[in-house]
């Protein structure tokens, strides 16, 4: 009984962390059709921002939830102005340029922080469920992921900015027709996407050690999750994170973490073979 509860929590946690990891990339891809391959490094910078802030005496939750997203959002803004905006409409070129940027960030972080693993300890203690100890931080991650999805839905559905955003997702010239400068919309979107990446990096930082190359572990997973999700932003994100999280955890518990990771990848290949445009090109059509 206890064990099934523990496994359920682990599964929810796996799904939640996939949602967190992919959210920033999904926003940028969904709105701008830009694949930001420096996404993992944005997360890495979120992690470093958190750790640095904590070392400077900032409360860990403030560091994670406010400082890191802001810092990374601003970095994203600079990147957008300097590089990305010159490449709109050139999908492959933006991928390559952001790949180059990811290397630049790794190099910079190495020069600033060095390659030694750093980290902070988790701010929430573990607790017991029957005979088992559970990592209390897992619940925090699950809660944050749920809040994030709800917030994204509320913003898109309920605010004027969300309306413009939805319009832009449907037809990129729509916003211009409504009298909004696409330039500013893209800027704002990239800021939000980067901030989300920073948030994800910050929240995962206490769980896993941080090195400048940490981003590499996330980008592939995020990339796969977003592409497999397909055209709908939220439905795609949640549905593909759920499928992949479920598959990988089943195999992790049944066999081993490596097989779990491989199962996730194999699932991605099969899924894209069956639904070349992603899950939401077939199901949940027209949803957000």
């Amino acid at each position: 009984m206890d064990i099934s509860f523990v496994i359920l929590v682990e599964m929810l946690y796996a799904i939640a962390s996939l949602v967190l990891i992919s959210a920033g990339l999904a926003v940028v891809f969904g709105m701008m059709k830009v694949i930001n391959l420096a996404h993992g490094e944005f997360m890495m910078m979120g992690g470093y921002a958190t750790i640095t802030a904590v070392q400077l005496g900032v409360n860990v939750f403030i560091a994670m939830l406010i400082v890191a997203p802001l810092v990374v959002g601003v970095i994203g803004l600079i990147v957008e102005r300097l590089v990305i905006r010159h490449l709109y409409g050139r999908l492959v070129d933006t991928m390559l340029a952001t790949w180059g940027l990811s290397l630049v960030f790794i190099g910079l972080a190495t020069m600033i922080f060095g390659n030694t693993t750093t980290g902070i300890s988790t701010p929430i203690p573990g607790f017991a469920v029957g005979d088992y100890q559970i990592n209390g931080y897992n619940f925090f991650i699950i809660v944050v992921a749920i809040l994030l999805v709800v917030l994204m839905y509320a913003v898109l559905k309920g605010t004027r900015a969300g309306l413009i955003a939805r319009g832009t997702m449907q037809r990129s010239d729509m916003a211009a027709a409504l009298g909004y400068s696409p330039d500013r919309i893209y800027m704002a979107t990239f800021f939000c996407g980067s901030a989300l990446s920073g948030l994800a990096g910050a929240i995962l930082a206490p769980l896993v050690g941080l090195v400048p190359t940490s981003g590499g572990a996330y980008i592939a997973k995020a990339f796969i999750t977003v592409i497999a999700g397909g055209p709908s932003l939220i439905a795609g994100l949640v549905s593909s994170a759920t499928s992949f999280g479920f598959v990988s955890q089943v195999f992790t518990f049944a066999i081993s973490p490596v097989i779990g990771e491989v199962a996730l990848l194999v699932a991605a290949v099969i899924l894209l073979r069956l639904m070349p445009q992603g899950i939401t090109s077939r199901f949940f059509k027209g949803k957000l």
Binding site: I3, V6, I7, E10, Y13, A14, T110, G114, N115, T116, T117, T118, G119, I120, S121, T122, I124, P125, G126, F127, A128, D131, Y132, Q133, I134, N135, G136, Y137, N138, P206, L207, V208, G209, V211, T213, S214, A217, Q249, T252, F253, S256, P257, V258, G260, E261
Partner: protein
Amino acid sequence: MSLKRREFLGAGAAALATASLLPRAALAADTIKLGSILDTSGIFDAYGKPMDQATRLAVADINAAGGLLGRQVEIIDYDTQSDMALYSQYAQKLTRQDRVDVVHGGILSASREAIRQTMRKTDTLYFYNVQYEGGVCDRNIFVTGVTPTQQVEVLVPYAMKKSGPKVYILAADYNYGQITARWIQKFVEENGGEVVATDFFPLDVSDFGSTITKIQQASPDLVVAPLVGGAHLSFFRQWAAAGMNTKIPLASTTMGVGNEHKVLTSAEGDGIMVAYNYSQELDTPENKAFKEKWKAAYGDTTGIHELAVSTYQGIMLWAEGVKKAGSLEHDAVVEALESGISIVGPAGNIAIDPQTHHAILDVHIMEVEDQKMKVVETLNQVAPVDTQAVCNLQENPDDNMQYEIEI
């Protein structure tokens, strides 16, 4: 067959090197060249940078004491950027163009294997100063790091005495981890215990949530975790986050090699049992002097770790060998080193085992306490029995392979 090949290669290589580099070799005869090949950038630089610093410190010490054979020692170093292909390239450069007298370096076992044959073909003496899985048998190489038995045979009985007979093993999924796990199993059984499960993790796994649940299902008395690298460090963090660190004791043969215990908070790290050749907390005059020299050279001592000290000791052993041989000639130095030479380094007395070209050294059992490694017990002059079981260079000087040690 392999002999024929070596002759063929050796002759050709020598001809090539002499033809292209005669003038420079003659010109630089006044210094002794020590080649250093380490990852001082890229993902392994946490290991490589202090090793590089230790190399410089050792050579500075030798030169300050008047050099070797009346000549100064010069370092020629390359940064392999954590890229295996560059090891091969720089090894060629060191041996054929720079024509160094000795090479110290290599971090991962793969990097050692990438350059070992080049060293052998060109008769360049090679020192590998890293803790590794054991079994390399090659007259041209000297290994000054600890091998699994040297740690495990000491650590496992101690840890089991403190906890209990049921042991769960979590090991890094590569050569070192696989072999170490088997030694752990052997020593657990010899001490009347039982291994309830063994799990292997590739070096990039950083999420151990499900594993921690599995361990709880098995409810062992002790977890032995030879996990390696930055990603695996998150195990110790997640273990503590789940509150397990107060319930089941941990032992490791790797935690702390790259100063990982300083990254974990004391709440996370305290109580983990380890066994190494070196700890910064060793209270010996040699260690104090070493730390002071390091501090004078680099500002602070936080960077010093096991591998850096191994590197320092490796270079000192080589220097001792050269002094004893009174020459830089390859075979003379090897014979001098095989004569049971020893030095007293920061980690205590360290001697070369003539049979295996590995090191006989002190092993300290330690417990992590407040981000430090507190020495609990010291075992003097532990021999590399694992490699001794498969390798005897006195009997087979032409041996040239890495044995998979059968347990």
